[in-house]
């Protein structure tokens, strides 16, 4: 039954993606700015007719409905067109960059959960204690610190001053790594290249902390409040009355039920981690999708923006689906 429901949800993704494609198509074309004009830059002459010719090569001289039809027709075949500026197929550019973005998102998620769970649990159990107040103040700080600022501070402290971690990039220059998935930490483990493993983990730390700080703060706060709520429930009192040790009461009875709102928030944050990392990618010179898209938007590189936004939409849809499926495991009363 569950499998059928999941399949149903997967199929719903198709019209959603279709809708996203149409919306992003029109939004890009409604934005002022001419890609060909931007491409020509400032210096040097532009020969007569040269710009018209480029527009025609990009099909920008066709009526909008024709352009939309061409885009959708090719997209259904899996062809997202080619980037105006980089002259490479969009799908290739995205596939090239996506692993770096996923690796950073996973790193940030791992960091944030590692921080958020102990903080959230401890501060709910020891509500109003010094630990609670201290960690909630920390969470507040985590939410309010802009990532470009936090990133620079971390770089100055841990990379420039202490030399513990690298400033930027994904791997030290001179280390060879055979790429399999494009995620360097995974690839170095698969190929048992421990030098590359150490280097790629080191490079991942600061961007992950920067990107994950905000998420850690949000998750810790949500987990704390839902834990406080759950700890007041009758079944928790009953568990305690049965004489179960406090650790088990908290971890087994309370935590599992407090997880439902927390998982929802985490699910949404995964989308944010994958799609909202442009700033962190720029600060740490991380060659991911975010940076590519921001540049593409400024260049009005329509095909590249369209392709990337579709990927982002897909990650949100998938993250939501995973969250919904997780609900059914956490609470069997919930069905898809």
């Amino acid at each position: 039954m569950r499998a059928v429901k999941i399949l149903e949800r997967v199929l719903i993704t198709i019209p959603i993606m279709f809708g996203v494609a149409i919306i992003v198509f029109f939004f890009m074309r409604l934005t002022p700015g001419d890609p060909v004009d931007i491409m020509m830059g400032q210096g040097g002459a532009v020969s007569t007719g040269e710009m018209e010719q480029l527009r025609s090569e990009f099909h920008l001289d066709e009526p909008l409905h024709v352009q939309l039809w061409l885009f959708l027709r090719d997209a259904i075949r899996g062809d997202l067109g080619y980037s105006y500026t980089q002259k490479q197929p969009v799908s290739e550019l995205i596939v090239e960059r996506l692993p770096a973005t996923i690796e950073l998102a996973v790193g940030a998620l791992a960091f944030s959960l590692l921080i958020a769970f102990p903080i959230g649990i401890i501060s709910s159990v020891r509500q109003h204690s010094l630990i609670d107040q201290f960690s909630m103040a920390g969470a507040f700080l985590g939410i309010s610190m802009p990532s470009f600022w936090l990133g620079i501070i971390l770089i100055l402290l841990f990379a420039v001053r202490l030399h513990w971690l690298p400033v930027q990039g994904r791997l030290d220059f001179g280390i060879d790594l055979q790429e399999i998935t494009g995620m360097y930490v995974v690839d170095s483990m698969l190929t048992r290249n421990w030098e590359a493993f150490a280097s790629s983990v080191k490079h991942l730390v600061l961007p992950s902390v920067t990107l994950g700080a905000g998420v850690a703060a949000i998750v810790a706060r949500v987990l704390r409040s839902s834990m406080i709520e759950t700890l007041r429930q009758d079944y928790v009192t009953l568990a305690r009355a049965k004489g179960q040790i406090e650790f088990l009461v908290v971890m087994k009875h309370a935590l599992r039920n407090a997880l439902i709102p927390t998982v929802t928030v985490i699910g949404l944050q995964v989308g944010v981690l994958l799609g909202g990392n442009m700033i962190v990618e720029a600060v740490f010179g991380w060659p991911g999708l975010g940076r590519l898209v921001v540049n593409a938007i400024f260049q009005r590189d329509f095909p590249l923006v369209q392709g990337a936004v579709m990927v982002y939409a897909l990650t949100f849809v998938v993250a939501n689906l995973v969250v919904d499926v997780l609900y059914t495991y956490l609470n069997p009363k919930i069905t898809l």
């Binding site: 532009v46 002259k87 990039g169 442009m278 700033i279 010179g285």
Partner: protein, 575 residues
């Protein structure tokens, strides 16, 4: 492409922190040396202040971790190149990288103009026919010799339509840069003849920007294979690229040596070079301080001072090629009155701006062209800062503070206008607006994204626009065509003209300058044109900032170039 506001904030934080951190370190002993630099194309001699650092101090302070292998130079770029195909971009950054792998018929250095590179001899057979004799024995990176066939192929790939077949057949976007070239033919194994449709005095300057590609290799692997693993005749050969974010090259040992006029001649000094993209300026600076990179591009003006005082780091500037001005809408009040436009020019204290915003690393514009342009009008000097003169001109035009509220008015209307600009020019725009307010003009600043504001500017819907316009050819053609000639739909003329200025004599002189070969005649043409634009002041002529780059102190023979070329052929690593 983060919002510049964020970058600026980050820079400010960085400056503060650097100051704090510098306090913890050893005291540097900088040594100031005055170097004399001959600026390209002008007989003028400029003095440039270069800060070097005493060697002992460097050894004490710089302990980079991890130390980069010292036969490798890592360059941090501010943005990625678009491609590694010399014919398929219209982007300075692509050329910055490409020109280490590819050479052209001619090249240009920062100080002495155009020199022969792959061409051994260049002769004008008549006004429109150019004969190029090629250097013999030049090898591509695969060992095959470069001949006339490669040169013909290279230029035909640019000027003929739909010559680039990947990913879909299209015409080179560099065609416009060499549009007068009608055809090219091989007249011998090492001789080609170029036929131009009209006389083209800037031919040499523009040939610098076309690099020779191997015919045999492109025919064998196609453009797709070529961009994946490009081959040229340059000092470095391609090794690998991760996207275009990290491009690795190594020394080409069979290199013919490069332009014979420009020492050192011979294979490159370092074994390997790496171009890495680090878009955030503060991170580039941090990477340099941490010893992760050796050279960084585009040092923001506010970090130049801090960096030049940091031990183990050298900062150098090259004459910029992107003048900044405020174009005034000459077709609508209040700027349809030439007196008002001149008054605004007198109201700006350019020296103050150069000192406070650019730390002295900029010069005031003497008129519509850069002071380093080969044909700058020597009799023009920047509008002096003279608020009294400005007020007198404004009073003449009817603008006085009749109601005593501190703001000039005319016919009951206060003198109020908006300077449109881009976020990256915020400090400059706000400073200029402040100077206007000092004489009673209510000037405000509004920030835009270029692509959004541009159509409005061309439609004459805005009042004043502060921005730059880059042209690295050191010739007036670029700026006169794009900025000071009236706008002509679908052509180069006026494609960057945001003031609506359209003076028939200037248009005529612009066109004449494009085809006049005789230097003295050209100088006379451009002198007159510059004088007219200077007098009619369709813009407030502001400043020209330097291009600042920084490197570790042990990077030798390194010099930033005005056209942003990072030429690593000459660069060595010291002990």
């Amino acid at each position: 492409m983060l919002t510049v506001k964020k970058s600026l904030l980050a820079c400010v934080s960085l400056v503060t922190l650097l100051a704090v951190l510098a306090g913890c370190g050893a005291t540097p002993t900088p040594q100031v040396v005055i170097e004399t630099v001959i600026v390209e194309g002008t007989p003028e001699v400029r003095e440039v202040q270069v800060t070097t650092v005493v060697q002992e101090t460097i050894e004490k302070v710089v302990t980079p971790t991890p130390p980069p292998a010292r036969d490798v130079i890592i360059v941090a770029l501010s943005s990625a190149p678009d491609t590694l195909d010399p014919a398929d971009h219209r982007n300075r950054q692509s050329e910055t990288v490409i020109r280490n792998m590819f050479d052209g018929l001619v090249t240009r250095d920062s100080t002495s103009g155009v020199h022969l590179e792959l061409a051994e001899e260049i002769n004008w057979l008549d006004d429109v026919t150019l004969e190029v004799k090629l250097r013999q024995g030049v090898k591509f990176h695969d060992g095959v010799e470069m001949t006339a066939d490669d040169v013909v192929f290279t230029f035909e790939r640019v000027i003929n339509e739909n010559m680039i077949e990947y990913p879909e057949a299209h015409t080179s976007p560099r065609k416009g840069l060499i549009s007068p070239l009608a055809s090219i033919e091989k007249t011998g194994d090492y001789t080609v003849v170029m036929h131009f449709s009209a006389t083209w005095p800037v031919a040499m300057q523009m040939l610098v920007h076309q690099q020779i590609v191997p015919k045999h290799y492109l025919e064998e692997v196609g453009t797709e294979g070529f961009v994946a693993s490009p081959i040229g005749t340059g000092p470095f050969k391609f090794v690998s690229a991760k996207g275009l974010d990290e491009i690795v090259m190594e020394r080409f040992d069979d290199y013919y040596g490069g332009a014979p006029d420009l020492a050192p001649v011979g294979p490159a000094c370092v074994k390997q070079i790496v171009f890495k993209v680090i878009p955030e300026a503060s991170t580039r600076v941090a990477a340099l301080l941490a010893g992760e990179v050796d050279i960084i591009q585009a040092v923001p003006a506010e970090l130049v001072d801090t960096l030049s005082q940091t031990p183990g780091i050298q900062v150098q500037g090259a004459a910029g090629t992107q003048p900044k001005w405020i174009e005034l809408n000459v077709n609508a009040p209040p700027f349809d009155d030439v007196r008002v436009r001149q008054a605004l020019n007198y109201a700006v204290d350019k020296e103050l701006i150069v000192e406070t915003i650019y730390g002295g690393r900029a010069v005031a514009l003497p008129g519509p062209l850069s002071p380093y342009n080969n044909f700058v009008n020597k009799s023009l000097s920047p509008y002096p800062y003279n608020p009294e003169q400005a007020l007198a001109l404004l009073a003449d035009a009817g603008w006085t503070d009749s109601d005593g509220d501190g703001v000039l008015d005319k016919d009951g209307q206060p003198f109020s206008f908006t300077i449109d600009t881009l976020e990256e020019w915020r400090p400059l725009a706000e400073a200029v607006a402040g100077l206007f307010r000092e004489i009673g003009i209510d000037a405000n600043v509004r920030f835009w994204e270029y692509s959004v504001v541009k159509p409005m500017l061309q439609a004459g819907e805005r009042q004043a626009y502060l921005d730059d316009w880059g042209d690295s050819a050191f010739d007036p053609v670029g700026h006169f065509e794009a900025k000071w000639h009236g706008f002509v739909e679908g052509a180069s003329y006026g494609r960057g003209n945001f003031s609506g200025y359209n003076n028939e004599r200037v248009n005529e002189l612009t066109k004449l300058g494009e085809i006049t070969v005789d230097t003295a005649e050209r100088q006379a043409i451009y002198d007159e044109a510059q004088q007219i634009v200077y007098d009619e002041a369709p813009a407030v002529f502001l400043i020209l900032p330097e291009e600042a780059e920084a490197a570790r102190a042990d990077i030798l023979n390194w010099m930033p170039a005005s056209d942003s070329r990072i030429n690593l052929h000459d660069v060595c690593i010291g002990e």
